[in-house]
């Protein structure tokens, strides 16, 4: 864990549906300037964890603090410091890019919104599509729009749930570079879920393996495979997915 004040602090987070424990005692921190990867097989609890941090799913137990604000008691302040992009949460397709950014800019109370929208349109190479309805964009352009909305309010915590899923490698590389640049300022931290281990290794400073609702491994994605006798992060992922039916922490 990175010392100092964390942008995101999650302590012993749990979510149960009856007897099923979707998330079981997850604790994690994201520091300023850090990109933390949250990986794991389907159903491991990644999206459930993200949804709880986004405030759209109430935890059964545990505590979430975003930039010092407790999500349970100071929801508005906590959520004003964050933003997200997810492949399953597209922006309204019947609004243009510019309209979407204006509406969400107002919701996040972005100062100097018109100037910020212009800046963001250039940053994500969307200026030429600004009058185009979001529903008419290609997958890559829609992903760039989602990311544009996600960084519009300069969030301290940026959450990305499989941001490069279903887009081509060239677009994915540009997006990774854009996010890395955003984080380099040291103002923000990122929690990033992905099934692309190459991407995680290339982008993340730290990776957390989630299995059966528990964090079972944690470390530097470049050195973690070697520490656990795996040849690559991909192999380690497969091993974790197959060898932790009970979700016990391996390290």
């Amino acid at each position: 864990m990175t010392p100092g004040r964390a942008i995101l602090s999650v302590e012993r987070l749990c979510k149960s549906y009856g007897a099923l424990k979707a998330v079981d005692g997850v604790s994690l921190r994201v520091a300023p300037g850090e990109i933390v990867g949250l990986v794991g097989p389907n159903g491991a609890g990644k999206t459930t964890t993200i949804n709880m941090i986004l405030g759209v799913l109430a935890p059964t137990a545990g505590r979430i603090e975003i930039d010092g604000a407790d999500l349970a008691t100071d929801r508005r302040h906590a959520l004003s410091k964050t933003n997200f992009a997810a492949v399953y949460a597209p922006l309204p397709g019947n609004l243009t890019i510019e309209q979407n950014l204006r509406v969400f800019g107002m919701i996040y109370a972005v100062p100097n919104l018109t100037a910020r929208i212009k800046e963001i349109l250039d940053l994500f190479d969307l200026r030429k599509f600004r009058k185009t309805r979001a529903g008419l964009l290609s997958s890559g352009e829609q992903t760039r729009l989602s990311l544009a909305k996600a960084v519009l309010n300069r969030p301290r915590l940026l959450m990305l749930d499989e941001p490069t899923a279903s887009i081509d490698p060239a677009n994915a590389r540009d997006i990774r570079a854009g996010i890395a640049e955003f984080v380099d300022s040291g103002h923000s931290g990122v929690l990033w879920t992905s099934h692309n281990m190459y991407e995680v290794e290339a982008v993340c400073d730290r990776v957390l393996f989630l299995s059966h609702g528990k964090i079972v491994l944690e470390g530097d994605p470049k050195t973690l495979p070697g520490e656990h006798g795996a040849t690559s992060l991909d192999d380690l992922f497969v091993a974790v997915a197959h060898e932790n039916p009970g979700g016990e922490k391996a390290a």
Binding site: V56, R76, L79, S80, N94, R102, I107
Partner: protein, 267 residues
């Protein structure tokens, strides 16, 4: 509450209406059809009844007031459905937007669209059939206010139902106004209803409006005390609807409905 966030919800609707004649036309078309249909029915009844009683303010006026009430409800629910149809809940509710700001934005949208419809109603009814709302005198303002508040309450209630039970339940919401109308005594006195229907009508604020309207048209004194009861019920229903929506929202957060709303729609 922050004006910027409420403004964002309203602005989204303005963008949708501005770029879509398909959304604007229904605000006027159904109103116009109702006025023509009921205007001619009223004129025909005036011709055959020879009772010295004008059906225009009683029947056509009732239709106009009921349409106004229905349009407000639909204005609120339609604004909500736009977010259902565009799978926008996760984007909205994972933001600093509060439910109060969201509902206020929906209500302002409902008011704006229904006022546009009302303006068309007034002009058409006056030019085509000589009906002026001024015939209702000072009671017109409370009539409109009670119907307006009841429409808002029903709109928020309908939105809560769809939030709770999912997009398919929108089909339960559209017929609500039609379901209520027989009990509300839109076209006939509540006294002609059987006892159990009269009991239902007593808890429906619009029934007090239409009873008052008929009294006024018949030259009798408007029963202000009864109208006040209708107004009190309407205010209470707005409060109850907001409370119900907040309860459903908390349930949705606890059970993960908002997250699944999006997930279901992409599966």
């Amino acid at each position: 509450m922050t004006f910027s966030r409420i403004g964002a919800i309203v602005l989204r609707q303005i963008y949708l209406y501005r770029g879509s004649p398909q959304r604007i036309l229904p605000i006027f078309i159904w109103v116009a059809v109702d006025i023509l249909l009921w205007g001619f029915i009223s004129r025909y009844l005036n011709g055959v009844a020879h009772a010295g009683f004008s059906f225009v303010p009683a029947l056509l006026g009732a239709v106009l007031l009921w349409d106004f009430h229905t349009r407000i409800m639909q204005g609120v629910t339609m604004a909500f459905f736009e977010d259902v149809w565009s799978r926008n809940f996760l984007n909205l509710f994972a933001s600093p937007l509060s439910t109060a700001e969201y509902l206020t934005g929906l209500v302002i949208t409902g008011i704006a669209t229904s006022l546009m419809g009302l303006a068309v109603m007034l002009v058409l009814a006056w030019t085509a059939f000589g009906l002026s709302f001024l015939v209702y005198g000072a009671a017109l303002a409370p009539f409109l206010m009670v119907l307006f508040l009841t429409g808002i309450a029903l709109g928020i209630f309908g939105a809560a139902i769809v939030l709770r039970f999912g997009p398919a339940s929108e089909w339960l919401i559209w017929p609500i106004a039609s379901f209520i109308s027989p009990f509300a005594g839109v076209f006939y006195p509540v006294s002609v209803l059987p006892g159990w229907m009269q009991a239902v009508s007593r808890v429906l604020p619009p029934s007090y409006v239409f009873e008052g309207m008929r009294a006024g048209v018949a030259g009798k004194a408007v029963p202000w005390d009864r109208l006040a009861v209708g107004g009190g019920l309407a205010v209470a229903y707005v409060g109850l609807a907001c409370w119900f929506f907040s309860g459903v929202y908390r349930y949705a957060i606890r059970e993960g409905l908002i997250a699944r709303y999006s997930a279901e729609s992409v599966s």
